[in-house]
Subunit: 290 residues, 6 copies
């Protein structure tokens, strides 16, 4: 409660007050206009921030405290409703600015298409990096009913941009037949159904490499994440996703950026999806950034 | 979407099985990608059809039975997610086809932007017609945050297309200052807050004219229509909207087409908005078409 | 309900348009009038069909596509509200017609009592077959508060009709003391609490035999299936039920029919139960029919 | 269900502990098995009792206190699930017992069919009485899809039992064409759409007569009563229903019994329907009984 | 989106950035620990701010724009959970500070007990002022089950502090018999059931006087405000409450402060109560402050 | 609240009618006024009782029937809203009375602070006993924002009262850094994240000792217990908690009392948390008391 300056309201818990002094920047991408089923992830970033106030600032998983990380929550990029092309241009430009300033970008979606401009911005700075993709859906379509800008396409685009050999998908349990065939024949890596076990095998092979991690909350079973647009039965538990975050944190890869997408509060009647997501972001902050 | 055979899906109660023999065509426009607040109206048409099964087929308001009207429910136009321009082109073309075939188009939204291509299609057939617009919002913006294709602009566009003197708005209780100034100075008609009383005055002045009616469900108070994206307190009751429908049915205007938009089932926890909307459509079918 | 033409209503995704050319017939049994606790499963079939539109048509579990199976969704049997006797007579007659026509009947409930007339119809065609019953509840009561026609009795009736040695229950975690005693002493098989592990042992002993499978969605933990009338804590995950479906698909039993019952949409606030059920039905179609 | 001792369960606020000393008996009829649309009213009586604890015991409408009335809440009649015939027999017998004991029966449904056996029980005691029926639906069908025992038929049956000239319906806004024709031609009274205004005209004509009042909660608009199976837009407000209760209380009719039916808690997400119903019952207790 | 200063997040729409330059201060009181029925109003202030982003900044009721008022949203007073005494001390002190600084205090509750320390703070500055109290409940108890600090007592305390002749209650439809007797005999004013009509009579008699207005959202019917702890059927519409706000705005009283209390988001499934409350606050800002 | 006669209200299924003849007393503590996040657990006891009616009376886990245990449900202690000190005094006194009478106290919360006065009451009777604490949260704070009476402090207080060596926590996955340091250095036992596995190791070391067990429902993952105030992702399943209850039942410890706390029905949209809690209480009754 301050009388003499702007009230600093809805930000991720313990956000640092100063952009310049921060190493990590949290930013929201409130976009859901290309989704094919249930929209609503545009409100994901705001809700995750809101419920983060219920989090403890200390992690017993990592024995670290949020005060040990300098991060700044920059709010949401003001994306134009219903204009996917302009939205992804704005995201690419914004993430580019963060990377130029030496920040670690930690993005919150919005629909999964938002990862595509992020990949492009990273490609400008990093010649060589790997994408770890944790999701229920392959997202390997070339287009969706004629639209190349769709929440079903970002990982296919990543394969084109970075080479399929630099894309690693985990937990996939849904997609078109063509997507699974592409996964088998293109040279990318895809682990079906499971996340933690295959990560234990793959992570050592990536030691020392730059890694960008994108997590779609729907990799969780709908029991753990009902608040998402395209729920798919048969997923992993939130305990398993925490384990996966710990495996990456304790591996020898160099995480250079990350995002968490597809939380849709309107289907999240007891707020459990947003509460879980805010905890994952705490662990990502504590485990993946310096 | 087929023009000439039964739609094999969820249809409005008692839909006739044959397009050619029908006088009225019900069609859905599952689009919500330009809305600025809460999306979800893309599921409006399907839900309204689903709950229509709970309706009686007889109206004690009009003493008419649905068997007295020949209508065909054509299902939803397959609009491309996240592409407003292509969506409105498809709507304009589809409604044009209906008008060429001599059908009475009865549209179900979707967001309110869908009315704009409908107006354009009608303008090609009718030199002279009037729009009656029943809504909480003025929808008179020239653009929304730089986007001219927005759910806040269709009535402004109608004024440009038809001349402001041919646009009549009722029930308006929200908008920007500029919109209310435009309403005062442009020559259009705007009744603030009320619907039935001002209709009683205006309808006689429109006797004999062609009239297209567009109803945004949010003209109802949120008590009566919680299931909409942009709820606005202080609205009319569903009893009053039924009265407005009766006033038009019993007037001497010539209704040439109509739509009902902005039902968003995800906020409609007891289905009351969809149930009301399906009743309004029954009354529109019975009262406004031959 | 028509046997020989397309159902003009909501159908399971990719339903074939022609009854005669189909090998499998999906049919709904919208009945919930004998349930002792929370009603609402009458809307299960319609909801499962509705959300099936969000499914992919390809299964990465079985590497099969829905186009490889010819199935016809016949809609719901028009059961008379509040009349259990007439309802079960209609179901028995309808399933009998399917069996005469050589179809594979795939039923969607409705309360679990619907399986009783199905068993009777199968008994008329097959001298010898086995029931695999996957459920939280034993359903072995002789009557429920004086009513022999109750959702708590169908498996007891199956034991009487087929001989207890031909009834195999899995996952049971609730029932009266008498039901568990009957299970122990009658000669039927009952695996308490678990499904996949005991199936691995039992399935080889059934190789070559005709098997009818009935799945009550409440075998899932309420975390995975909140949308059911009689939720019972301590159940299996949807991942485990998928595994059970795969075990049956890959076994050497001859599946001759199946049903999935007790999805009650009104308790299913984020649609997760219906979404899971529609996926199970896709896998049953792909794995259990030719 | 005990007649002579305190019910050890959830009771209506301030229920008297002793059956014998009470003038009024509140009883629940948890039946919903013949409803054609959304079931769930079986839980109405329990929920109304539960939320009655939030009521004040004093009415500022009538300036009376619940301590001025001696009433006993007898709990629910244990109706057999899915057996309409036995259910209505039990209700008729139970109400008969109350009438023999000189009690004022105040029933809580449950579906509207429960009023039919009540009418029969009253007919045995009273040669001459009138039914006041406040409802959205005419309930004048002879049968519903072949079933004469249906929640759509009780008022037709009342006309047959008591003579149509002794049946007065108010607020009706839905029904089949045949029902409205019957209302016009049979000699019964039906006021469409409105309740309080026509009551003001009718009540004086009934002065001195015995009157049984049955209220279907769906006479309220869904804005006021979302928690009901067959919501119908265009209804009255709860303020108007309170006014109607006061009009009867202050009239010169002799109320001999009453019921309130069709509250279905599962659609009543903020409990507003049950809260309103419990207030109506408080006013009925204070205004209609001695 | 700013890079170089703290993100100004969850504040009432268009809040001025500077406390010193502001005439009005909006402050939240997230307290609900003395409520006797359903808690949850502690989250009212945050939710009202959140949905205020969906508001237009212009009022067609008053033809005024939020830019014409200088107000600062100071966030919530950090009240200690479960400690009513310390909470009300903090509120009294905070409001005292605002009054010393010449600000117009506009408070958002929280439970209604918060108004009691506000009255005390105002009494220190103003020798003579009047309270206008708009509510469903009399709030005139001396204590609640032995606790004098209760959400049922603030208006009784106001009568003691200011003299009953300076307290005017409107819309009251619930309370204990003793409260209504106190209202009749003490010299205070109470209008039962209605708000706008009696205000038209009373306001002229208060011309020129200082007035503090406290609005309990439950004066609205539960149809209009389901999101509150103690919903009471038979209330006014949000249209009528808007009319009451306009009547005060256009009267000759001198409004010196105001609050709006008892919005409880957890019962507000479609956000309609919070949306209405944020609109009322906009109108209070535009109509009651300079 | 009566000690010597049947509670006339909602009771746990099969509650014995007589206090004196009962060995176990179930009692509710409807208190939630010190919680720091989402209130609502005051309604936990009533809801758990209500849904207990859907339970079977027989446990297939323990092969025991509720008729084998004599228990009496005494209803809720009438705790004063918003007064923590008086509330805990009342609980301590009430539990003391039960212990004097030789009853086994089985408490239902309410917030976790209620366990503190229970510990004090037990300490008066038992010189030596151990607390087994199953929870997501450490609850080891010395105070919460200055308040020593808080739902975050009861286990710290237990350490002070009983000696840290007599406190065993299981399943802990959230807390402040100081709490985890206290756990490490004080001499108490804390198992992080897991419950069943560490219990298997610890229970044999407690053979023959008196044990009080307190279970916070939020030890379950939010997938299994969404209906609680402070949900924390990454928890155990209800299957695992059932296993833990069985491990204690089959161990050689002497259980002297128990409680289950923090069920908050308002976040429990499909009642799954209350349904699970009522099952846990059935198993505690059958497995932990004679």
């Amino acid at each position: 409660m301050r009388f003499d300056e702007a009230y600093s309201g809805n930000v991720f818990i313990k956000s640092h007050g100063n952009y310049d002094e921060s190493d990590v920047v949290i930013y929201g991408m409130p976009m859901d206009w290309t989704v094919s089923f249930r929209p609503g992830s545009r409100f994901g970033p705001a809700k995750i921030r809101e419920v983060s106030l219920g989090l403890e600032e200390y992690s017993p998983y990592l024995d670290r405290h949020l005060e040990q990380v300098k991060y700044f929550d920059a709010g949401d990029i003001p994306l134009p409703f219903g204009n996917p092309q302009r939205s992804i241009d704005m995201i690419e430009e914004y993430v580019g600015t963060l990377l130029e300033a030496g920040k670690f970008p930690l993005g919150i979606g919005g629909e999964h298409l938002v990862s595509w401009p992020i990949f492009k911005a990273f490609k400008k700075k990093y010649d060589d990096f790997v994408v770890i993709h944790i999701d229920a859906h392959a997202d390997l379509r070339e287009e969706y009913e004629g639209e190349p800008l769709s929440h079903s396409t970002p990982i296919r685009k990543a394969c084109e941009l970075l080479g399929p050999e630099n894309v690693y998908s985990f937990g996939i349990r849904s997609g078109m037949q063509e997507e699974f065939e592409f996964a088998k024949t293109s040279g990318m890596h895809m682990s079906k159904f499971e996340v933690a076990e295959p990560l234990k095998e793959i992570l050592p092979t990536l030691a020392g490499r730059n890694v960008y991690v994108t997590i779609d909350i729907d990799v969780l079973d709908p029991a753990h994440a009902p608040g998402t647009g395209t729920a798919e039965a048969g997923g992993i538990t939130s305990k398993e996703l925490l384990e996966a975050i710990m495996l990456i944190a304790k591996s020898e890869v160099n995480v250079i950026g990350a995002d968490l997408v597809e939380v849709a509060p309107v289907y999240d009647h007891s707020e459990q999806t947003a509460i879980a997501a805010s905890k994952f972001i705490r662990e990502m902050l504590l485990g993946w950034t310096k």
